[in-house]
């Protein structure tokens, strides 16, 4: 890739600039700063859409009562049951139980705190799906 061909397509990275290596006029490799490249931006958008779609499906399931608010926070943090189990220090089976409204209702104060801490939110916020979170 030549220096003049380095793409500058802004994407999802909030203006963060990365580095690529490209060949300058005299044939030497130099570092060139770039804002992104359209194919990658497209790939990232697809991945983002997939996460958003997933999130919407989960919110719908919470509304009809087949999942607990924990499912929302888990998906929002881009985790699956296995990873959340690792963070919470419990078994995957337990996490799955807590993802159901019945299991969620039986959570102790301490368990609630553990989950809230992982997501960087308050225990109150953990009960509400789609609250603003700050992790």
């Amino acid at each position: 890739m030549r220096e003049s061909e380095v793409p500058q397509d802004a994407g999802l990275f909030d203006g963060m600039r990365g580095l690529t290596y490209a060949v300058n006029k005299s044939g030497r490799y130099i570092q060139v700063s770039t804002e992104g490249w359209a194919p990658v931006n497209y790939a990232n958008e697809l991945a983002r859409e997939k996460l958003d779609l997933n999130l919407r499906l989960i919110l719908e399931k919470i509304r009809v009562g087949s999942l607990s608010p924990l499912a929302y926070h888990m998906a929002k943090a881009k985790m699956d049951e296995w990873l959340l189990a690792r963070y919470a220090g419990v078994s995957k089976r337990k996490v799955k139980r807590h993802l159901k409204p019945g299991g969620f209702a039986r959570l102790t104060e301490q368990q609630m705190k553990t989950y809230a801490e992982i997501f960087g939110i308050s225990v109150q916020a953990l009960r509400i799906p789609s609250s603003g979170q700050n992790v």
């Binding site: 890739m1 994407g11 999802l12 990275f13 909030d14 963060m16 600039r17 990365g18 580095l19 690529t20 290596y21 490209a22 060949v23 044939g27 030497r28 490799y29 570092q31 700063s33 490249w37 359209a38 194919p39 990658v40 497209y42 790939a43 990232n44 697809l46 991945a47 983002r48 997939k50 943090a77 881009k78 985790m79 699956d80 990873l83 690792r86 963070y87 992790v135």
Partner: protein, 336 residues
């Protein structure tokens, strides 16, 4: 306490941290040199490893994390102390102490917990590297080599990032240079790096090295028949992400390696031949970029991806042939 530390932006995190730490000690090793001496160039497509949370098979263009630190320090005779911890408080105290003593400390961290990254880059990848070179109150001064400028990070986020969980969990891993040799054998290290890269790429296993590229081409061909269209598209675009996302320097580290070969040409007797090899690697990189462009186009169109996946696979196969010739020639020339 803040250490005087020169921040240089780099394409890849691990080679960038290595280079920045070495330059802090006065060894002029830039990023391509660190990458090449660490023989980090690789390829593998591993369908049974699904680290992504969308359950997409792993495609990688480099060796496993940690290999650059290990190889570079070994070959250049640099003393690197690596520590891991079971306890968060102990890990943070040990880091604070090192900084007090004037050591810039390298860390392995989970990207997801770093607040200074844009949301789109914050996924659960646990083998990111950065340098901490100071502490002010409750905030750490961080030199993250993939960012243009140094940033700050709160102790709370730092604790989370250092003890992220999941695959490749860092367990608070921190490292710092304790000794250097005044006149390191750079030439020898460069040659060893090239040789090892050849050895790795030419390995006989079907899914890693040069063979892995052909394997990926075959898999891409099969994807549309094996799964719903949406998923096949997600799989293909994931290859693009692994190849081009911030951290590879373009074309899945191929340009970074070409830059390394150019630096090798300046130092080794086979000057012209290595320059020619560098240009050849640039052409291979351009071919990979062509694949990414084509793949994105195919996925955007959406209708009848069945046969169009084949044309993306064709380009990957071309990459395979080019890299096979490249490394076969390289091995032949370096044996003597």
């Amino acid at each position: 306490m803040t250490i005087e530390f020169q921040h240089h932006q780099s394409a890849h995190c691990e080679s960038g941290v290595m280079s920045n730490l070495l330059r802090h000690e006065g060894l002029n090793i830039d990023e391509p040199l660190a990458f090449g001496i660490g023989s980090a160039l690789f390829f593998a497509h591993i369908p049974f490893l699904k680290l992504d949370n969308n359950k997409i098979p792993l495609t990688t263009f480099r060796m496993n994390p940690g290999v650059i630190l290990k190889r570079v320090t070994k070959l250049l005779g640099v003393g690197l102390t690596v520590e891991r911890f079971g306890d968060v408080t102990k890990a943070m105290d040990a880091m604070d102490r090192r900084i007090e003593m004037g050591f810039p400390v390298g860390l392995q961290v989970g990207v997801f917990w770093l607040p200074f990254f844009p949301d789109a880059l914050r996924f659960h990848f646990n083998a990111h590297n950065m340098v901490v070179y100071g502490k002010e109150g409750d905030e750490y001064m961080v030199s993250d080599p993939t960012l243009p400028e140094p940033v700050r990070c709160s102790a709370r986020d730092m604790r989370k990032a250092r003890f992220s969980k999941g695959p490749l969990a860092p367990h608070g891993k921190m490292y710092y240079i304790t000794s250097i040799t005044p006149d390191p054998p750079v030439k020898k290290a460069v040659l060893t790096g090239i040789k090892r890269t050849c050895f790795l790429m030419k390995n006989p296993f079907p899914i890693g090295g040069v063979n892995g590229i052909r394997y990926l081409a075959g898999r891409i061909r099969k994807w549309p028949g094996q799964m719903p269209e949406d998923q096949a598209i997600l799989y293909l675009t994931n290859v693009i992400r692994m190849q081009e996302e911030i951290g590879t320097g373009g074309a899945g580290f191929r340009f970074l390696f070409a830059a390394f070969l150019q630096r090798a040409a300046d130092r080794l007797p086979q000057r012209e031949w290595l320059s020619a090899k560098s240009s050849e690697m640039t052409a291979i990189g351009d071919k990979w970029r062509e694949f990414a462009l084509m793949a994105a186009k195919i996925c955007k169109k959406r209708n009848g991806v069945g046969d169009t996946f084949g044309s993306a696979a064709d380009i990957v196969e071309e990459c395979w042939m080019m890299e096979r010739t490249f490394f076969a020639d390289m091995c032949r020339n370096l044996k003597t």
